[in-house]
Symmetry: C2
Subunit: 443 residues, 2 copies
C-alpha cells in the first residue's frame, strides 16, 4: 500500500499502472479511501484498467464516487455506467446530489436509464431496492447445450451465473436450476426436465429483513424477485444479503442502546448529527427518571430516619436494570433469530420466573451478608435482600415481556431494550424498596 | 405442513412419500422439528428419497439427528455418512455422545473417517473447524475442456462449483478461477492462462471472525484454507460465514448485556443454565454497586439536610448510564465493522466530547426547568444541571474510551458495554453530584 502511495506521489504513473494490475479490487478500493487529494483520486482512477474500473467504483464510498464522477468526461461516465451492475448503479445514484444524477443519467443508455429510474422508485428497505436486474433466464424448451451458449453470451453482464431462472414468454417464472445441475446434465437434455419447478421467490415490495430470513432458512445464493404481475424482474444475491444483515444488526444494537438509527458511519457523522440521533431517547428517559424521583419524594421521611437506606439505591437500581436488560437482550435476539415466537410467551415467562428466582436468591444472600457486615443490622440487611428478590423477579418479567409485547403490536422489539426497561424498573424498584423498608423497619 | 402431519398420523405412507418429493429440503427439516414422537421422526426420515435424506439430515438439530441415528441400521448410517458434506458430518459428530460417534465412525469409509478425525481436532472457532474438504481443484496444465470433465465428475460431491482452485503436484495452491471464467473462456484455453494467481487464503488456525472479515472485504463466495505446509486442505463457503456472523453478533449482544455467551438457543437452555450464564456479571456488578453505596455514606449529612437531593439520584444515574452506553455501543459496533480502529482514539474522544457538550446542555436545561418548577429553588436546580453536565461528559468519555482500551489490551470490546460502564459512571456520578451540592448549597 505504501508502495502505491510512493509511486503516486512521485508521479511514476506507468509503474503504478502495472502495479495496480496485480491487486485485488477490494484492496484498490481500500487504498482510494486513504487518499485526500481530489486530484490524486482522479489520477489513480484513470490509471485503472477498463475491465476493473467499474468494479472498483462500485466498492467506493459515495464521497469518493462523487469526486471521481465530477472529474470524468461524459464519455468516461458512459463507460462506467455501462459496466456497473444495475443495483450498484442505483445505490450510487441514490447518494448523489441532483445535478450529478442528471449528468450521469444523460450519459446512460436509454434502456439502463429506464431500469435505473424504476429501481430508484422502490421503497427503501424493500427487495426491489436491493435487487439487481442482471440475471440469466432461459426458456423451458432449450437443451442444456443451448442454455450454455446463452449463458456464455450473458455471463459477463450477469451478477451471478450460479443460479439460472426459467421463464415463459410473458417473463413469468416457471423454474430454477443451478449451474451445477446444468454441468452434471447430458448436453441434449431439456431444461424443463432438469429444472426445479418449486420456486421460492419474493416480491419487489417484500421487506429486506424477510428476504434475509429466506436466505437464512433455505441457504440460497440467489433469490428471484417478481413484480405484482408475477413477472421475474430481478434477483437478490447472497452478498447483498450479507450487507442487509450487517445493517439490520447495527440498527438493532443502536435501538437497544436508545439511539435513533442512521446509516452514517461513526467517524463520518458530525457531532451535531450524533447528538441528534441520541437526544430523543435521552430526553424521554430523563423525564421518566424525574417521575421516579417525584415518587421517591413520598418516602423522604424514611430516608431521613435511616440515611443508610439511600446508600443501597445504586445496588437496587443497578441490579434491577442489569437483570431486566439481560432478559430483554436474550428475548430480542431470540426473536430476531426466529428461535422465539409470540406463541412461546408463557414458556418464556415461566423460564424467566425460574431464572429470576435462582439469580435473585444468590444475589440476595450476597447482599444480605454485605449489608449485615457493614452495618451490623440484620433487619436492614433483610430489607435489602427482600427488595432485591422482588425487584429482580419484576425486572425479568418486564424485560422478557416487553419485547414480546412490542412484537405483538408490530413494533420493533429492539426498542424495548435496556434503557427503557431500566427506567421502568428503577421506578418499581424504588417503590417496592421503600414500602418494604417502611413495613420491616416500622417507619 | 398440516397435510404432512395428517398423512403421517393416518399412516398413509405412500401418499406422504409422494408429497415429500415436491418439498424443499429446508421445509422438510422444519417439519421434523415439530414432531415429538421418536417413532414418527424415524418413519418420516425413512420415507425421504435417497438423494435428499443426507441433505435434510444436515439441516436438523442435534437432538433429532441423535434420535434418527439411533434408529437406523448400520447400512443406512453408512449411506448417510457417504452423502454428507464433511463439515456437516463433523458438526453432527461434535454434538453426539461418545457411543454414537463410535458407531457412526465404524460405519464410515476409512478415507472419510481420517478426514473427520482431522476436522474434529481443529480448535473451536478456527477456520479449520468450519471448513469443508470437498472442493474442486484442477491442474494448471489442463485445458478448459478437460477441467469441465473433471468438474462434471466431482460436482455432485463438492460443496460449491462456483470457485475452482488450481494446485500443483504437492497440493500447494497456485491460482483460483470462477466457473464464470471457465464458461466464458475458449474450450482449448489453458487453465494457467485464465486463472488468477493472486490467491487470498486463510490457514486452518485463522479465527473464524477474521475469515468473516475477509468475506466482507472481498465479497468472496468461497475462501481457500491452507495448512502450515501451504497445502490446500479445505474451503469455507459463504453460507458457513453467514452462520458465523450470526453467532458472533449474538455473542457480542450477550456480552454487551453482561451475559456470559453460550451457544444454546433460548428455549432449549434450562433455567439453571440461563442462571449460570447471567450470574457472574451480576455478582460482579452488585459488588461494584455496594462500593458506590459505601462512598455515598460519606455524604449522609448532605441528604439528611436536604432530602430532595435523593430524589435526583435516578435522573443522574440513569442519564449517565444511558449516555455512556450510547457511546459504548457506537464504538463497539464501529470496531466490529472496522469503521473505527485504535489509531482513531483521539478523533473519537474529541467527537464524543463535542457530542457530550451538546447533549448535556439540552438535558441540563430541561432538568433545570423541571427542578425549579417542582421545588421553586433555582440553586437546587443549578446543582442538578451542573452535575448532569459533568456526569454526561465523563460518561461519554468512559463509554467511548473503555471499548478502545479493551481492543488495545486484545480483549473483546463488547465486554466493556453498558452494565460495566453504567456501574462505573454511577460511582463517579454520585461523587460529583454530592461534591457539587455541598459546594453550592454550602452543606
Amino acid at each position: 500500500m505504501e508502495n502505491i502511495k510512493t509511486l503516486l506521489d512521485n508521479k511514476q504513473y506507468q509503474e503504478l499502472k502495472q502495479h495496480l494490475l496485480s491487486l485485488n479490487i477490494a484492496d484498490i478500493a481500500a487504498f482510494f479511501e486513504e487518499l485526500e487529494d481530489k486530484q490524486q483520486i482522479t489520477i489513480l482512477f484513470r490509471l485503472l484498467s477498463k475491465d476493473v474500473a467499474a468494479d472498483v467504483f462500485a466498492f467506493l464510498q459515495p464521497e469518493y464516487q462523487e469526486v471521481i464522477v465530477n472529474a470524468l468526461k461524459d464519455k468516461e461516465i458512459a463507460l462506467i455506467m455501462s459496466d456497473l451492475y444495475m443495483d450498484d448503479a442505483a445505490d450510487f445514484l441514490q447518494e448523489m446530489p441532483a445535478n450529478v444524477v442528471k449528468r450521469v443519467l444523460k450519459n446512460t443508455t436509454k434502456e439502463n436509464r429506464d431500469t435505473l429510474n424504476k429501481l430508484l422508485t422502490y421503497p427503501e428497505y424493500s427487495a426491489g431496492s436491493i435487487m439487481t436486474t442482471e440475471f440469466i433466464d432461459v426458456k423451458q424448451t432449450l437443451t442444456v447445450d443451448e442454455a450454455f451458449s446463452k449463458i456464455k453470451k450473458k455471463a459477463a453482464d450477469s451478477e451471478t451465473i450460479g443460479t439460472i431462472f426459467v421463464t415463459d414468454a410473458k417473463r413469468k417464472i416457471e423454474g430454477v436450476l443451478s449451474i451445477r445441475d446444468l454441468i452434471m446434465a447430458e448436453r441434449d437434455a431439456l431444461i424443463k426436465d432438469i429444472m426445479n419447478p418449486n420456486v421460492i421467490y419474493a416480491t419487489t415490495t417484500t421487506d429486506q429483513e424477510e428476504v434475509g430470513a429466506l436466505f437464512d432458512k433455505y441457504d440460497f445464493y440467489a433469490l428471484p424477485i417478481i413484480d405484482n404481475e408475477q413477472r421475474l424482474v430481478g434477483i437478490v444475491t447472497i452478498d447483498d444479503v450479507m450487507d442487509v444483515v450487517k445493517e439490520e444488526v447495527t440498527e438493532d444494537m443502536e435501538k437497544m442502546a436508545a439511539i435513533s438509527p442512521t446509516e452514517e458511519p461513526y467517524l463520518k457523522a458530525s457531532a451535531f448529527s450524533h447528538a441528534k440521533k441520541r437526544i430523543f431517547w435521552l430526553l424521554f428517559l430523563t423525564i421518566s427518571a424525574s417521575v421516579t424521583g417525584a415518587i421517591m419524594s413520598f418516602f423522604e421521611d424514611a430516608f431521613v430516619a435511616i440515611p443508610a437506606l439511600v446508600t443501597f439505591i445504586p445496588t437496587l437500581m443497578g441490579t434491577g436494570g442489569n437483570c431486566g436488560s439481560q432478559s430483554a437482550t436474550l428475548v430480542i435476539r431470540g426473536l430476531a433469530l426466529n428461535e422465539i415466537s409470540i406463541k412461546d410467551y408463557f414458556k418464556v415467562a415461566f423460564k424467566e420466573f425460574k431464572v429470576s428466582l435462582l439469580v435473585s436468591i444468590i444475589l440476595s444472600v450476597v447482599n444480605f451478608a454485605i449489608v449485615w457486615l457493614r452495618y451490623g443490622d440484620p433487619l436492614l440487611a433483610l430489607v435489602v435482600a427482600l427488595s432485591l428478590i422482588i425487584v429482580i423477579v419484576i425486572a425479568e418479567f418486564i424485560g422478557s415481556g416487553l419485547p414480546l409485547l412490542a412484537k405483538v403490536c408490530k413494533l420493533d422489539p429492539a426498542v424495548m431494550a435496556s434503557p427503557v426497561i431500566a427506567t421502568l424498573v428503577d421506578c418499581i424498584a424504588m417503590v417496592s424498596y421503600f414500602l418494604i423498608a417502611s413495613a420491616i423497619l416500622g417507619l
